[in-house]
């Protein structure tokens, strides 16, 4: 937390840079919010419905890429190697499903929200309510993580406490989400995308040039190092020498990799805050194109992240281990950044065999998930821990977040680049948080109040209700950001599983299967949701007694179970539908109608 204090002169300027960059970007967001405030519910829900495909594509990319994509994903991949591909394929492949199977039709349908579609297509307020509940659970789960991300970036780069970081983040989001609704969010997201992608690419390009001489990290990833060996071959070699599995080979079972990838893809396509972005473009043609642009802007980061992962992993291993002489390096010879990040608690070293060298091998260096530091320093000046794992030879703990956060320092880049990462992380977290908050507020003001409780409410009053529920949602999200429930990380996987198990089948069947009726859809969603919840509670939270990966059904982890729950939803929906009456003629006409692009007017309030 206090690593700045050790080297006041040099690092103060990183802090000043951070203040300047974060201050500038925040003022920009506020300026945009004032310029684009919403005047009607249509502005608030779908930004007036006239957003260009390119603008919407950029906004979708920012909406989609969260604090986790920006800060944690490259780090995760760095430690998972090939297995990290589940995130890369899962979080991009969903856009193909979205573009081909959902976005154009939902745009033609032309309402404001996902529960709107479910409610109208299945002519049932029960279906609408199930959809509202699912949308709110999914979005809250996600938004708490974003606020936490804001707090962490603040505390790491600006020496404020996590609590203050969350409060400042809340105020900013409050300002532009409550004032501008979807309109304000759309244009701030465009600005946030520019900030975050610049912040992500600059260090990546520098490091790629340093290590492989390639300007493009995507090329450097497959390029060769100074000594002529390919980067990935070198990395595989280092891994083998240190007793890890090869970087490019799999550790999870193939079945599980398949299931997780599918669950993430389908979950992505079913996430309400992504889907609603496609209600903001003028017509069906734009909705298709917009999905393509969105994936281009996402792919820039998603193809760079695995390259950063491999660069950082190689750098890190070569720092602690000399592969020529096959010896561990001494703690004393570690570069400055190593000790600085030890101060923040993201690195920890315990000299288990008292040789002053850093043994980094396969196995957990500590007991539990995080190192617990105690007062005092060891023989070599290292911070002491109370929870080293004496059963393994591994002496080094590395937090996955360090890969992106410390990358510029490891590569010795200028201070402004280091500060840029803070601004980028904040942009990623805030843009996603705003999109999610909008879904929550719309669910309450539109799907609950307007569609169920008080259909005669005036546009002005509905807008006020939307603002109040957005404000309320910001506060609740902030509370969870400051007091994160212990299960936050676990619950994010649940969010995808839930979206996969509920929305995706209901929407796809609603478009592609005209005979699908409300009985089938509601039963499918409920059974899908419940089986997902049951599996998570049983195998993730061990609610019904201790379980291990041996007990998983078909070897599928809770993270991957969304794909099975989705199949269950499909089967239940179709079977129940055969034994119940077909939907009324008007509904079948809706289905006919959404299949034809012509005449998609602006999103309608009905």
């Amino acid at each position: 937390m206090h690593y700045f204090t050790d080297m006041p002169l040099l690092l103060m300027s990183v802090q000043s840079w951070t203040y300047i960059l974060v201050g500038l970007t925040f003022s920009l967001y506020i300026f945009i919010a004032i310029w684009s405030r919403a005047g009607s519910t249509k502005d608030f829900y779908v930004a007036g419905g006239g957003v260009s495909p390119l603008t919407n594509g950029i906004a979708t990319a920012a909406d989609w890429m969260s604090a986790a994509s920006f800060i944690s994903m490259a780090g995760l991949i760095s430690f998972m190697g090939y297995d990290g591909g589940v995130y890369l394929m899962g979080w991009t492949g969903g856009y193909v499903l979205l573009a081909l199977m959902l976005a154009p039709y939902l745009r033609k349908f032309g309402k404001f929200t996902v529960p709107d579609f479910i409610g109208d297509r299945y002519y049932s307020n029960t279906a609408r309510t199930v959809a509202v509940i699912a949308a709110i659970i999914v979005s809250f789960t996600y938004v708490a993580g974003q606020m936490r991300g804001v707090g962490v970036v603040f505390s790491r780069f600006l020496e404020t406490s996590v609590e203050w970081g969350v409060v400042i983040g809340m105020l900013i989001v409050f300002f532009y989400a409550v004032l501008g609704g979807m309109k304000g969010i759309t244009y701030t997201q465009v600005a946030q995308y520019c900030v975050l992608i610049f912040a992500f690419m600059v260090p990546a390009i520098f490091i790629s040039i340093q290590m492989t001489g390639n300007v493009l990290p995507q090329m450097g990833f497959g390029g060769s190092l100074e000594d002529g060996t390919y980067l990935l071959d070198k990395l595989d070699g280092l891994h083998t020498q240190l007793g890890f599995e090869e970087y490019t080979s799999n550790k999870k079972s193939m079945v599980d990799i398949f299931a997780i990838t599918l669950a993430l893809m389908v979950g992505t396509a079913g996430l309400p805050h992504v889907i609603v972005r496609f209600f903001t473009v003028p017509d069906v043609k734009s909705a298709r194109k917009s999905a393509g642009y969105a994936l281009v802007f996402i792919a820039i980061l998603y193809t760079t992240a695995p390259a950063i992962a491999a660069f950082a992993r190689t750098n890190l291993l070569q720092t602690v281990y000399d592969s020529e002489t096959q010896t561990a390096q001494a703690y004393q010879d570690m570069p400055d950044w190593f000790k600085q990040w030890e101060e923040t608690g993201l690195l920890a070293w315990t000299d288990k065999n008292n040789d002053g060298k850093i043994q980094y091998v396969n196995g957990s260096s500590i007991v539990g998930k995080k190192p617990i530091f105690i007062e005092g320093k060891g023989a070599h000046g290292e911070r002491l821990l109370s929870n080293p794992n004496i059963k393994t030879a591994n002496e080094l703990y590395i937090d996955k977040d360090i890969i992106v956060l410390a990358n510029p320092e490891i590569a010795g880049l200028p201070n402004w680049v280091i500060a840029l990462v803070a601004a980028g992380g904040l942009a990623a977290a805030l843009s996603t948080a705003a999109g999610l908050l909008l879904v929550i507020s719309t669910s309450v003001s539109h799907d609950l109040i307007k569609k169920q409780i008080n259909p005669d409410i005036s546009d002005k009053k509905e807008l006020l209700a939307a603002r109040i529920s957005a404000a309320f949602a910001v506060v609740v999200a902030g509370y969870f950001g400051i007091n994160p429930p212990g299960f936050v990380a676990a619950v994010v996987a649940l969010a995808f599983g839930l979206a996969a198990a509920s929305f995706f089948p209901a929407i796809v069947l609603g478009i592609f299967y005209k005979r699908m009726n409300k009985e089938g859809a509601v039963a499918g969603m409920v059974v899908g949701l419940l089986s997902m919840l049951f599996y998570m509670l049983t195998f993730k939270f061990n609610l019904f007694g201790e379980t291990s990966s041996e007990d998983w059904w078909f070897g599928v982890s809770p993270e991957g179970f969304g794909s099975i729950a989705m199949v269950i939803n499909f089967v239940v929906s179709i079977v129940i539908c055969q034994f119940t009456p077909p939907p009324p003629t008007e509904v079948q006409e809706i289905v006919e109608n959404i299949r034809i692009p012509r005449g998609a007017g602006a999103a309608q309030d009905h």
């Binding site: 090939y82 394929m89 573009a99 060769s224 980067l231 043609k285 393509g292 077909p582 079948q588 006409e589």
Partner: protein, 97 residues
């Protein structure tokens, strides 16, 4: 996957009615082909056949690994734009744009 349902085909007002059924069938055909490729590059090349593809090199990459961490994503982008072009053409052909 649709079974025909009576009285559901509403003639379009105004312009001469395009053959919507055929339009929809061509659309489904495109979908099937594109989603097959989508499945092949990700679940196929990146997961199911990754070991056999890893026998081949693409620059410094093992081929299967490349598909899992790079290639599939490029293919996804191309797939969406191919779909956009195909559908724009189809919309014109049937006069539904």
């Amino acid at each position: 996957m649709d079974e025909p349902i009576e009285n559901s085909q509403q003639p379009n007002k105004g312009k001469k009615a395009p053959n919507l059924k055929e339009y929809w069938h061509e659309n489904l055909k495109y979908l099937a082909v594109l989603l097959f490729i989508w499945f092949t590059v990700s679940f196929g090349a990146g997961i199911l056949f990754v070991d056999s593809l890893n026998q081949f090199q693409l620059g410094g990459f093992k081929l299967g690994f490349w598909f899992a961490q790079q290639g599939s994503i490029y293919c996804f982008v191309i797939l969406i734009f191919v779909y956009v072009i195909l559908m724009n053409r189809l919309d014109k052909k049937y006069g539904v744009d």
